[in-house]
């Protein structure tokens, strides 16, 4: 199949339809509006349904209803909108429903701004809703990867009955890149024998629910969810290693920031400094294990984010106190340029302490 030049938000919509998504419930918010607009245009052509909800809260609950009725269903939003959806995401996790949620992050807190950031890392990986739950989280760094991961996110959601988040940012949503729509790899998926489609008088009623009034029963449910989370941690961790043969310093970055970091690494190479990159592709589960197998040449770690140090916590957990962990971040929608990162690396090489 040939490549087409597409805007990120629209490419993600096209990928969802390719993945068999036929239901989309959303509410407009910048910078992801091209995605619901695309779905409103394209879903009716494949007998699908786009519905603009009255709020993000209603949209995620429509997703809950549609997922419970057995549909492949998606919603998308940007940071403040995703914050509103957190209640519903907790219920979806509790009721073990599969769905895909796209967050094209913008600056916060509150209304913040409309420029790209990565300041929803805590919200995505720690859970913005109540209770012991996790949301599977992919962090694409290009539009091609956003398309590929989005298609896979539907399968992961179905396989584990878990909400799957695709965490992009305003940059991924708004830029244009050539993209190819590959045939999705087929995973063996479990039969949806739990859905509420009417008993037809042929089976016992199915109930979609997250309420367990008996604490022993709720603990058992929490334990079952935990077992599922451990299974995902064992099977679904994804990351990219770049220039990791014998670096003096390893940078850690995801999504848009990782591309800027790659440019910084090229500049550093010209100046005789070998720097590597660990790029987590799944933010939850996080690739902690890869930090245990770093080459002996590595003297320090540098986390680079478009936030004031949210993934930094995971890097410190992964590092287990072995190497000094430095941080460089820009916030509020300010995108770091390679030169700033090069300057920071040089300062670390020159003896700057974390």
């Amino acid at each position: 199949m040939s490549k087409v030049l597409m805007k990120g938000n629209e490419a993600v919509g096209a990928a969802a339809i390719k993945a068999g998504c036929r239901f989309f419930f959303g509410y407009p918010i910048t910078p992801q509006n091209e995605l619901p607009e695309y779905m409103s245009r394209e879903l009716p052509k494949v007998n699908g349904t786009f519905l603009q909800a009255e709020s993000e809260v209603a949209a995620i609950n429509m997703v809950y209803g549609a997922a419970g009725a057995g549909a492949r269903v998606m919603t998308s939003s940007s940071s403040p909108g995703i914050a509103l959806k957190q209640e519903g995401i907790s219920y979806i996790a509790g009721a073990e429903l599969p769905c895909v949620i796209v967050n094209m992050m913008r600056g916060g807190p509150g209304l913040g701004g409309i420029q790209p950031t990565q300041a929803d890392y805590f919200q995505a990986t720690r859970g913005g809703g109540n209770g012991d739950y996790r949301t599977f989280t992919f962090a694409p760094a290009s539009i091609q990867e956003a398309v590929d991961l989005l298609i896979e996110a539907f399968d992961i959601a179905d396989q584990y009955r878990i909400p799957a988040l695709v965490l992009g940012d305003g940059m991924i949503g708004q830029m244009m890149e050539p993209v190819e729509f590959n045939e999705p790899k087929q995973r063996p998926l479990p039969k949806k024998d739990w859905i509420t489609t009417g008993t037809g008088g042929k089976r016992k009623p199915n109930i979609v629910n997250s309420l367990y009034l008996d604490p022993d029963e709720l603990e058992e449910h929490n334990m079952r969810l935990d077992k599922k989370h451990k299974e995902i941690e064992a099977n679904e961790i994804r990351y990219e290693l770049y220039n990791m043969e014998s670096p003096e310093i390893v940078l850690v970055a995801y999504g848009t920031t990782s591309r800027i970091v790659k440019n910084a690494i090229a500049i550093l190479k010209e100046e005789g400094i070998e720097a590597g990159l660990i790029r987590p592709i799944t933010l939850w589960p996080y690739p902690y294990g890869v930090f245990r197998e770093l080459p002996k040449s590595v003297k320090a770690l540098l986390t680079v984010e478009m936030s004031l140090g949210q993934m930094l916590d995971d890097v410190k957990i992964a590092n287990e106190g072995r190497l000094p962990v430095h941080f460089y971040g820009r916030a509020g929608g300010v995108i770091p340029v390679p030169k700033e990162i090069v300057t920071k690396v040089k300062a670390i090489m020159g003896g700057e302490q974390p």
Binding site: F23, F25, T49, L51, A53, E54, S55, V57, A58, A59, N61, M62, V63, Y64, G65, A66, A67, G68, A69, G70, A71, V73, E87, G88, Y91, A95, T196, T197, G198, T199, G200, G201, K202, P205, N206, I207, V208, N209, S210, L211
Partner: protein, 252 residues
């Protein structure tokens, strides 16, 4: 021995958790009877709310989904859009529907979503221990209106049926009560019509059912029914506000 009367098959054998004198049990049964008599039990998906009827999914013998507080209409929208040929209903109390979920109920009516809502109005928050609801009457004492509800402080009680009847997409709107057998029969007819409204594809249908809360009101079951008649019905008048068949015949 021959069976002369049976409980509806649309309800399971689970014991209701409702307090003595609460009319949720009657309303559950009416909803069940309507679904069974319409022959759609196997094609029905119900949505339970948060509040006293939070466990409704254990009582209706059909597929059920539990929604978060106030969001049942949004959940029902998701279900109905995926399964347009199935019968979808929400069962909601006044805290759920008239307070935290007002946006959802207004917009499900506004879209003319082809679902049926059973709205149980007992003028108080029952499950959480008798706090004030938007439907609590002026002067009525609740745990969060210990001096009696004052209009100046928190507004007049919200008339949901009247509010929704102003919305074009609300095809069937009726307020009923279940305080005596005659009114129970009328309530059943209204619930039946609200489901028929959905089955015939007219749009959104809602039945507001005035219900008693002896525990929350601090009254005996009998006193509670008397209080409902004397205090609730004058402020929440019974009757049909929208009916797709009547409106159609009016045009001719």
């Amino acid at each position: 021995m021959s069976v002369v009367f049976e409980k509806t098959h649309a309800l399971t054998d689970a014991h209701f958790h409702y307090c003595p004198g609460c009319t949720h049990g009657i309303i559950h049964r009416l909803v069940g009877e309507c679904i069974e008599e319409l022959g759609v039990l196997g094609d029905t998906i119900g949505v339970a709310p948060v509040g006293c009827s939070v466990l409704a999914y254990n009582y209706f013998d059909c597929d059920m989904s539990e929604a978060s507080h106030g969001r049942a209409p949004a959940v029902a929208t998701g279900i109905k859009r995926v399964l347009p040929d199935k019968t979808v209903f929400t069962y909601q109390g006044d805290g759920d529907l008239a307070s935290i979920g007002t946006a959802e109920i207004v917009h499900v009516a506004h879209r003319g979503e082809k679902i049926t809502t059973i709205f149980v109005n007992n003028a108080i928050y029952g499950m959480t221990g008798g706090q004030m609801a938007p439907t609590t009457l002026i002067g009525q004492k609740a745990t969060t209106s210990p001096y009696g509800r004052s209009a100046e402080h928190c507004g007049m009680p919200l008339r949901v049926a009247e509010m929704l009847a102003t919305i074009d997409g609300a095809a069937f709107v009726e307020r009923v009560s279940v305080h005596d057998p005659r009114h129970v029969k009328k309530a059943k007819k209204a619930i039946m019509n609200a489901f028929k409204c959905q089955l015939e594809g007219h749009g959104f249908g809602i039945v507001e059912v005035l219900s008693s809360c002896p525990t929350g009101w601090g009254k005996t079951p009998e006193e509670a029914l008397e209080w409902l008649v004397e205090n609730m019905i004058p402020y929440y008048p019974l009757g049909n506000l929208r009916d797709p068949w009547k409106e159609k015949s009016d045009e001719h």
